[in-house]
Symmetry: C2
Subunit: 427 residues, 2 copies
């Protein structure tokens, strides 16, 4: 039977999963692809490191060996990071290899050049695993939903933060304790910055928005705010209001430009995203024909991510078999503006500690009014002789007006502290 050679860049968690899964499915490939998929080389840092269950004769520390191996038709990049991944992928494409990558950092930054290079060389560049791990989302957007004008993509695309927020919501934990628990269970890394500050999610939002709206969105276009300031008290208010707090990646295609952001948001408990618990991910989309749809599953982990990578490898192999690589590459045929974040309209939950005396609410309401912020609800709680906690939920307002109002409030001596400012979902 015909063989299709594979070069594997990286043998970390995902690389090991891909190695295992390709071996587990070896006998099926005759039927699925009509060829044997054979890993011919694996790029690692240290070829002398002992690895269980891996054929050590495949290991190399020289990526150029793969480029020069004519039997290798598919390169699987699961090493991560910007360089040397970027250089190797570009060289591989130029050498006529098809490339499958799980590298969200790289694609959120350099997706255009990677896809263009694939196209110029008539090869596939596939990256289902770069967004939401094992959950099919890239291919559904590019193919199944290709008849839609997608207006909205909203997702829980970071498992670490969803686990933390689930513990806070279900067990009443504070952020620090929930983070500790996540680290203990291996859901969060020793340095959790990229997850808890929303950077990881922002990269996925950039990639999804680019595909959904057919217009390039890069990492730096995405407004980003993490979950470190969310407190158990905010969660308690959310519960009272029938809401949950989720770290959402949100991208909208509006008449005056693309909005893209990652931030904690209060969302109704009946919304499909609200019931996505623990480390699960989900992506919710709205298209003009399909209406609402959601894709749910494991957004990370060795085998779920390998599932997405191997799905892409099989697709590339089928394209090779049918001589139609580069069948679908870049779908960004528009050049839409990115909306300035200050012009994005959101609804806000604001929790503050104020002086407990008559006239305070009136003064606060006046500041909001002067800055075009309409108030939907006011809840006063926790009144003590000197201070009270005031929660104000606004109607939709431009971020820049909200910021100006908050700046003015911060300077008022009857306001001790603005404790929380959290966005709330509004249609």
């Amino acid at each position: 039977m015909k063989k299709i050679g594979i070069g594997l860049l990286g043998l970390g968690t995902v690389g090991t999963g891909v190695y295992k899964l390709l071996h587990m499915r070896a006998d099926d490939m005759e039927h699925t692809v009509g060829a044997k998929l054979e890993i011919r080389k694996i790029l690692v840092h240290n070829i002398n490191k002992k690895r269980e269950n891996v054929d050590s004769s495949l290991l190399t520390d020289d990526w150029k060996e793969m480029i020069h191996d004519d039997e290798i038709q598919i390169i699987v990049e699961v090493m991560g990071g910007m360089e040397p991944a970027r250089t190797i992928i570009l060289e591989a494409l130029k050498a006529g290899k098809n490339v499958v990558s799980a590298n969200k950092d790289l694609i959120a930054e350099d997706g255009r050049i990677l896809l263009d290079t694939a196209q110029e060389n008539g090869r596939d560049f596939l990256f289902e695993a770069a967004v939401a791990g094992g959950i099919p989302i890239i291919r559904p957007l590019k193919q199944c939903l290709a008849g839609n004008e997608i207006s909205n993509v909203m997702g829980i695309v970071n498992g670490t933060t969803n686990y933390i927020l689930t513990r806070m919501f279900e067990d009443g934990m504070e952020f620090g304790d929930a983070l500790g628990k996540a680290q203990e269970l291996g859901y969060a890394e020793a340095d959790p910055t990229s997850d808890i500050e929303g950077l990881d999610a922002a990269r996925k939002v950039a990639i999804m928005a680019s595909i959904a709206f057919h217009s390039r969105v890069v990492f730096s276009d995405v407004y980003t705010q993490g979950i470190t300031k969310i407190t158990a008290r905010d969660i308690a208010y959310a519960k009272d209001f029938g809401l949950v707090i989720k770290l959402l990646g949100v991208a909208k295609n509006t008449e005056d430009g693309i909005e893209a952001g990652v931030y904690p948001m209060m969302i109704g408990k009946d919304h499909p995203l609200a019931s996505v618990r623990d480390s699960f991910n989900a992506v919710f989309i709205h298209g003009d024909a399909v209406d609402d749809a959601m894709f749910y599953g494991r957004g990370a982990g060795e085998m779920p991510t390998a599932s997405a990578v191997v799905g892409d490898v099989i697709d590339a192999a089928r394209d090779i078999q049918h001589n139609c690589t580069a069948r679908i590459n870049c779908t960004c045929y528009r050049d839409l503006p990115i909306k300035s974040w200050g012009d994005v309209r959101n609804k806000f939950f604001i929790r503050m500690q104020v002086k407990n005396q008559p006239g305070v609410l009136a003064a606060i309401a006046q500041v909001f009014g002067e800055h075009k912020v309409s108030i939907e609800r006011v809840v006063q709680d926790h009144a003590e002789p000197e201070s009270a906690e005031l929660v104000i939920v606004t109607e939709l307002v431009k971020e820049k007006y909200m910021n100006r109002a908050l700046d003015e409030l911060k300077s008022m001596d009857r306001i001790y502290e603005i404790s929380s400012v959290i966005r709330e979902y509004a249609e």
Copy 2:
């Protein structure tokens, strides 16, 4: 620009949606496909019937006109039913056309010959719309998840019954009233048999199981039970137990064969399928690599179904452009047995009215014991001088043993009535 001609079979709800959507996206096709998609002919029963916003010069009542039109490369079958759809599709494939179909009745029965004929003629036969309407599920299973051994597919794949059960659960309605409400709102047809008896869902299960397990499952292989016997009282018990009742299509690939059935099931309220409300659909799958995943959205309706059809049309057009039609057709390369339903193991909720006297429970327990049925829980409620309501939840037991036990219980004079027998989800 190059044109790809389309022949549309049927101009009912879905056909009209497809017609509209292809016009709405006409300008995008240059970028998406690299060709103009042009509807050249539309098959209807009555070409003289006045139709708003449809170019009447395209109408024909002779399907052979399409077959003989060399400019038509894609036939879209949205007429439904077995014949003449079957004949037309087969003739179209033999004439070298690619075919997109939304016809679950036909595919659940004759999927093999349709796919084989497509393959023999080197053409696409695509049918994303046949299962769960707008929700991407066929392509994710065939491509994104192709690296998985799928063990389990479980779905809410009928919007009518999900709407009815949602009303019963949320508003305490009885079945008849909820059905009336569904009919009033256009969610249920005047003759709702196919929906409420689970036949529609069974066809979708047959198609999904065939693809997920790579082995042909047809409509008659699927055990089917509808929701007409579910009462508000059963729902109340489910709520008490922290469960909801859903009409689920369930397919499992087990060591001793494929299990496929459609039946109402009690399922934990934290399960992702439990929060699928109203007329929404969702398909939950378990794969050995991806773990759990779920696909959620609109399972029916003019534009959601058109979304899936047009997605397939775009895919076929891309295949035409790249000269790779028949890239992925039949994936049933196994020939697994279908398990006899009596050998399928399920957990049961049984509600019965019994004589209110000592020794009744002992007698019932003995009957269960004799038939290998283990009891997990017993709840007695609603005791009156003469009668009491008894609810028994069993552990997993083979269907045939359960049936034998029930037959014997029915003959006991201390049991007035077996009111409900509903399966309960168990891992």
